[in-house]
Symmetry: C2
Amino acid sequence: MSKPTILVVNDDGISARGIRALVEAMKEIGDVTVVAPDSPQSGMGHAITIHNPLRLDKVDIFKDVDAWQCSGTPVDCVKLAVNKILNRKPDICVSGINHGSNSSINVIYSGTMSAAMEGAIEGIPSIGFSLVDFNLDADLTAAKHYAGIITRAVLKGVHWKELLLNVNIPNLPLKEMKGIKICRQAMAKWKEEFEERQDPSKQKYFWLTGKFINPDLGEDTDEWALANGYVSVVPIEFDFTAHHAIPRLNKLSWNE
Amino acid sequence: MSKPTILVVNDDGISARGIRALVEAMKEIGDVTVVAPDSPQSGMGHAITIHNPLRLDKVDIFKDVDAWQCSGTPVDCVKLAVNKILNRKPDICVSGINHGSNSSINVIYSGTMSAAMEGAIEGIPSIGFSLVDFNLDADLTAAKHYAGIITRAVLKGVHWKELLLNVNIPNLPLKEMKGIKICRQAMAKWKEEFEERQDPSKQKYFWLTGKFINPDLGEDTDEWALANGYVSVVPIEFDFTAHHAIPRLNKLSWNE
């Protein structure tokens, strides 16, 4: 088999340490192209840029790797990569390594996962990698190691369409990792807390903060895996239909 | 039963005609509070604002209705409404009426639906309404009519948690509507096209455009319903796990 083509994206921006670690891991596996936002885009969900023009500039910041920075969102990066840079589908799309967890409900808010989801929608097997450590100086050794293992396993073993994985790596030294666990998304949520402040003109403003609350005690969840030293791998789909609710809704009275 | 408390949000911004129509429809049903972005936020997906402070200002633009505009995204609006304005959960959260379809794969990119999804995550029955007409001068009569019917039916008949509906209304006069149809999300997608231009300094930029492609011919989809004159109602869930993929992934060889 010839070397696979690998598209690398992220949401922390092209200069983040996490994408550098991911590029290094992917260079061992295939031909790498990077398209990433020119500034941090955390929490962008599946945002796309439709009311502003998009800029795309070639940059020379990774050794022996073609790289572009884009003024748009992580999703814009994937769309531009496939349509304007590669001009074809890569063999795999990897996103990250995100600085901070995207487990459980965080998948919905995550720019890292939105880029991977966009890859999957385009029909490219796609994986988002996140390290459970928001510290920008985090040790990326173990995350990089597992990004390599999981990408190789998918390239070798997955022959079905629309593969999309949400991979989270616990904040542990490599030798303390227990291995890889396939999981479901824990049904946890954030309890928001808004910090109220005053600006110099005495006008009120808010910072969004919050506390993560997980009432889902299943041992098959990503939260359980991470808390017990495993790398969590959750397969994700983009059919959001609650199929189980259709019969119940059909029984409702829709008086017109 | 006392009058229900209704939270109205949107993504086109507080001055859009669509939210005005929705407020009018909801005033017939309950006590309405509006919290909406101070500017258009289309295509924002499930974005949240974490790197910027949020502003929230009371505005007097709807007759007999408390309304706030917020500098953040549709999701921020819901979080602020529940935590800083209402200080409790409303009985229902309605989002829209969006100017343009949010059927099929558009649910992923939609700010309208992200606001509704955030409501559902908070445990509030939530509905997003979208009119299949991007024209800002669109006739909202039929959409407003169905928003009333569907909201009443949900308030009366739904006693389960985490209800989330994606409602799209075809661009037809009220008397030509065939009724309401419960559907699944059509597995359609966008074929991107980037329009390339030059700015006055001869630098290249792109506009994201695209063509909607629907290979899913099922008669149980939202696309089929809309094309055949029905209002489409798709129940949505925020467990994104592809449960069917877990056994297949467990069979892969994850060599470490």
